[in-house]
């Protein structure tokens, strides 16, 4: 019986092994990059949200709610009669600039012509 030697399975070619390693390395690098970007986006979003929340919170807590200021009133509907209008004339005022009018400046009236 001849002693035929059984050769061990041929080891993968060094080049093939390098390609797999390279691919795995690239995949891991890709995952790391994805995780980094994801963490950055979440972090920035959280910081932006908290900052905006704090700004609005401080603004409201300090008693400077813009919705309550004289300058900006929401669009409103007023059902009026002719007599009501005269009573409302002095009360219904809003400002586009937030400054008091000068008593030295005459009021002007805009009307249909």
């Amino acid at each position: 019986m001849s002693s035929a030697s059984i050769d061990p399975p041929a080891a993968p070619a060094p080049q093939r092994l390098d390609a797999r390693t390279l691919a795995r390395t690239k995949r891991e690098a890709l995952r790391r990059r994805t995780r980094r970007i994801r963490r950055s986006v979440l972090g920035i979003a959280a910081v932006a949200f908290v900052t905006a929340f704090l700004v609005i919170y401080v603004q409201l807590a300090s008693g400077h709610d813009p919705a309550l200021s004289k300058r900006g009133t929401a669009t409103s509907k007023t059902a009026t009669t002719a007599t009501d209008r005269r009573k409302q004339a002095s009360a219904a005022k809003s400002s586009s600039s937030g400054t008091e009018s000068s008593s030295a400046s005459a009021a002007v009236t805009t009307s249909q012509s």
């Binding site: 007023t78 009026t80 209008r85 809003s94 586009s96 937030g98 030295a104 002007v108 249909q112 012509s113």
Partner: protein, 355 residues
């Protein structure tokens, strides 16, 4: 001030004998008013500029308005506007201000998609508005007789895109037959031109038949009252430091046409007939009086659902039933506001009790 009154009367030509002419307030503001453009115009100026005194500024407004009243009237056959409208040439040399009006007509059409169309002269004359209205129809009667309300729309065959204006050379090109209506656009333009001319004075307000332009170096906040079309009461008061305000509506110029139907001067470009949209008046604030005039007209014509969208800088809408909506100006935070806020916060911290 009687001397000034005499000067004004002689210069302006449109001031009646009963006109209050020039008057000065206790605060030093000089004011005058004149009947023109079928209504009343006024000017309020305080403080001198480098070129003229406040009184001279007011007189300049009066004389300018009188000149423009003659120049831009479509009821005067010899006015520049009538001559332009009747000119058979395609290209016409006009005055610089007429060129600006033509440009404004073109801009108004472009900005509103044809809703504000100041080329509907033939249509408005067919509706019966071919001269000064002797006795206008009361608004309540016009509304009672008016057809069903519906928003206006742009005309299918638009004329305004054919306008080609060279403002620098004062040339107007258009197909002969395309006519311009001075209407409200001219009033807004005049108010802007005058306010710009007088901007070197401390505080300036020019009210050109309801179209108001406000300017001045002191940036004083001035009260602008919005008048009710029903009874003349004040519906709302805005405070404006710079810019324009204008009111447009169907309350003042209504009449019965030959068929006995109510008519007015705000036409639906799509039909060529007076528009009854459910809005009787709109007031707009804007950076200029001309822009405010365009917005106010567009608001009236677009009807109650879409009107507020035209009032980006604030305004008032009055509906058929007499109710009104106030569209508040956007809240503006200036550097002065921020500085005042910071100073207040610092003071509050200083005076806060120690913990």
């Amino acid at each position: 001030m009687s001397t000034d009154a005499a000067v004004m009367t002689a210069d302006a030509g449109v001031v009646s004998a009963k006109s209050p002419a020039v008057r000065a307030s206790a605060g030093g503001e000089v004011s005058a008013s004149w009947p023109c453009f079928g209504s009343t115009s006024s000017a309020h100026v305080s403080g001198p500029s480098g070129e003229r005194s406040a009184q001279e500024a007011v007189q300049l407004v009066g004389s300018s308005l009188a000149r423009w009243h003659e120049q831009f009237s479509r009821f005067e056959p010899r006015s520049e506007l009538s001559r332009l409208n009747g000119d058979p040439r395609e290209e016409v040399q006009v005055s610089p201000l007429m060129a600006r009006l033509a440009q404004a007509v073109s801009d108004a059409g472009a900005m509103t998609g044809g809703l504000v169309d100041a080329t509907l002269i033939d249509e408005i004359e067919r509706a019966g508005y071919s001269g000064d209205l002797a006795r206008p129809l009361p608004l309540a009667d016009a509304l009672a007789l008016a057809p069903a309300r519906s928003p206006a729309a742009a005309a299918r065959a638009r004329r305004w895109p054919a306008l080609d204006v060279d403002v620098e050379r004062a040339l107007v090109r258009r197909p002969p037959g395309v006519k311009l209506d001075s209407g409200g656009l001219a009033k807004g333009l005049f108010a802007d031109v005058l306010a710009q001319t007088l901007a070197g004075h401390g505080a300036v307000a020019v009210n050109c038949a309801g179209d108001v332009a406000i300017a001045g170096t002191r940036k004083v906040a001035r009260e602008v009252n919005v008048e009710s079309p029903f009874d003349g009461s004040t519906l709302h008061t805005f405070h404006v430091r710079r810019g324009g305000a204008a009111t447009s509506g169907i309350g003042r110029r209504s009449w019965l046409d030959v068929q006995g139907s109510p008519a007015h001067h705000l036409l639906d470009p799509a039909t060529g007939r007076p528009a009854f949209t459910g809005i009787v008046q709109a007031t707009a604030l804007a950076p200029s009086a001309l822009l405010a005039e365009i917005r106010a007209k567009a608001a009236v014509l677009s009807g109650p659902r879409a009107a507020a969208a035209w009032l980006a800088d604030g305004g008032v809408i009055v509906l058929d039933d007499g109710s009104h909506h106030v569209v508040a100006p956007p809240a503006a935070v200036t550097l002065e506001d921020l500085a005042a806020y910071a100073a207040g916060a610092r003071a509050a911290r200083r005076h806060a009790p120690a913990r």
